[in-house]
């Protein structure tokens, strides 16, 4: 595992408080698996000590460029949003285990469900699945039209259904309101978002195979501090660490 100093190539606001940061450097070479994350330092010499976990949203291996999408909400991500091109960002990663790419499922469908800032990793995942010839459908949930992003780009990889809480774009409601006929369709589910959303997705997808990516506040990001545990009934230890055993888990594996 490695610490990398990456150079910002761009860092722009693409929706309300949502930033797209592109970073380049030799370290990008190892970032090949969708669902992994980078543990990002938000400032040098700063009073913000802890790194921020941010999912890999896309990687361009030719240009050695990785894309992160993040919401500038707290102090740390706001600090990150003030960085400009040429500045250096210190990241650990890629960390964690990404999505299993369903090697044997090439004639099956995949349903990728993301809420809010859970949307970014689905982009890189969709790219990979499409390359494997899998039929991909996205359900992307946002607060409102102002918070939505990347919708046109997702359409490159498959049908893209949008929900907004206020109805300003797509279906009014939550991602689960767009999950019609899922069980009959028998897609493999891939979902990223807040625990409450993942729980709802899991309930709607009973009997299906699927993967969920979890979020938790982290210390080390590498499995050493036990900050990010989640109970599980399937492992002997009784818990998993989201940073190192996850963030992606099989549906049903963790107790949400």
């Amino acid at each position: 595992m490695k610490k990398h100093l990456l150079n910002i190539t761009s860092n722009i606001e693409i929706a309300r408080n949502i930033f797209e940061m592109k970073l380049t450097g030799p370290g990008v070479g190892s970032m090949t698996t969708p669902g992994q994350f980078l543990h990002v330092s938000v400032g040098n010499q700063s009073s913000k000590l802890l790194r921020r976990p941010l999912s890999i949203c896309d990687v361009d291996q030719e240009r050695k460029e990785v894309t992160l999408l993040y919401r500038a909400q707290g102090e740390g991500t706001k600090q990150l949003s003030h960085k400009s091109a040429e500045e250096v960002v210190d990241v650990l990663g890629p960390l964690g285990n990404g999505f299993e790419l369903a090697e044997n499922d090439h004639n099956r469908k995949a349903l990728l469900i993301g809420g809010g800032i859970g949307v970014p990793p689905l982009y890189y995942l969709g790219k990979h699945l499409k390359k494997k010839g899998i039929e991909v459908t996205f359900i992307l949930g946002y607060q409102s039209i102002e918070d939505s992003f990347y919708i046109e780009k997702f359409k490159d990889f498959g049908e893209t259904i949008v929900t907004t809480v206020d109805g300003s774009l797509g279906i009014k409601g939550f991602v689960t309101d767009a999950m019609k006929n899922v069980v009959e369709d028998e897609p493999v589910i891939y979902s990223v978002g807040p625990a409450i959303m993942l729980k709802a997705v899991e309930e709607r997808a009973i009997g299906l195979r699927g993967y969920l990516s979890l979020e938790e506040r982290m210390g080390c990001g590498i499995g050493a501090c036990f900050a990010c545990v989640c109970p599980t009934e399937t492992r002997e230890s009784g818990y998993v660490k989201i940073c190192s055993d996850g963030p992606v888990f099989k549906m049903g594996e963790v107790v949400l």
């Binding site: 802890l50 740390g76 590498i222 501090c225």
Partner: protein, 312 residues
């Protein structure tokens, strides 16, 4: 012998740097980042008699130049630690300091008995100062007699030197240190975390599920330096210093205050390579100030005066 060499009861260290308990797991995660054999030693995560799941999440929160944690002594229990974790450290051939916690005297004694009998364990660290569990020993950590009593009983069963890890959440750290010295401790570890808390201003809710947590990181270094400075003048036990150390300069500051070795905690989360980087930097700093052996640094701040100074 290397100029970074330091020697403490049970701990023969090629340099004074070891990770602090709870901030380095049982070592194997960081072993993926670098060769642990460069370390002066390693403090492993607290062991209790049975496995514990710890507190609900969120377990960490960020504060200015610090962090709060309320892990709650999650660990697989002493037996599994002896079976799975400690043997994995064998290849690195460095001293192991085993951190011990419990809810009752009996638990501390039994864990000590078991873990101190491992030939791989060099010394034990009695964690009487975990602020994050109802029964994490904090009752021993702020009450001088209980602390002395526990120390005495643990010493009686331990096959290895015993370091007592002191809580900074006390009115008089010197009296606490003196009490455990008298009870037979071989060394002191100080400091554990300060009890702190953070609320979400929008909701008024605590960030941590446990509500309060332990404050660590650079924010607390001045408190650690002061306590080590005061205690080192009044007890003759060696001190493993810790609290906010993140640079080689911090290490020399803490040794000057009276520490014989220095543990690095929170800084590992900021930079997983921090320990080896500090170790590499130390000889350069010693050159800069013209000091040959790092062990000469211990207690410089007080040695310079003929009579010991009390600080207030």
């Amino acid at each position: 012998m290397s100029r970074l060499h330091v020697s403490l009861p049970g701990l023969n260290m090629k340099n004074p740097i070891l990770p602090a308990s709870g901030c380095f797991g049982f070592g194997k995660e960081y072993a993926k980042w670098y060769d642990l054999s460069v370390l002066g030693g390693i403090t492993i995560k607290a062991a209790t008699l049975e496995g514990r799941f710890g507190n609900p999440t969120p377990r960490v929160a960020e504060t200015e130049s610090g962090m709060l944690n309320a892990i709650g002594l999650q660990n697989p229990g002493v037996m599994k630690i002896l079976e799975n974790e400690i043997p994995a450290l064998e290849p690195f051939n460095i001293p192991i300091l085993a951190n011990i916690a419990g809810s009752t005297e009996e638990e501390y004694i039994e864990v000590t008995r078991q873990i101190s009998s491992s030939p791989q364990v060099s010394a034990v660290e009695l964690n009487i100062s975990c602020p994050n569990v109802k029964e994490g020993g904090i009752q021993f950590g702020t009450h001088y007699e209980s602390a002395a009593d526990l120390t005495r009983k643990v010493k009686a069963v331990s096959e290895k030197p015993v370091y007592v890890k002191l809580s900074p959440n006390v009115s008089n750290i010197v009296e606490m240190a003196q009490a455990v010295e008298e009870a037979g401790a071989d060394g002191l570890s100080m400091i554990n975390t300060l009890v702190g808390m953070k609320l979400d201003w929008r909701t008024g809710n605590p960030i941590l599920a446990n509500k309060t947590g332990g404050l660590s990181g650079p924010a607390i270094k001045p408190v650690a330096i002061r306590m080590i400075y005061e205690v080192s003048q009044k007890v003759s036990l060696p001190i493993i210093g810790m609290g906010g150390v993140s640079t080689a300069e911090d290490v020399l500051e803490m040794m000057s205050a009276g520490a014989s070795a220095v543990a690095v905690g929170t800084a590992n989360f900021v930079n997983p390579y921090v320990c080896p980087e500090i170790i590499e930097q130390l000889p350069k700093l010693l050159d800069e100030i013209g000091v040959e052996n790092i062990s000469e640094m211990t207690g410089r701040s007080t040695k310079q005066w003929k009579t010991p100074l009390s600080s207030r």
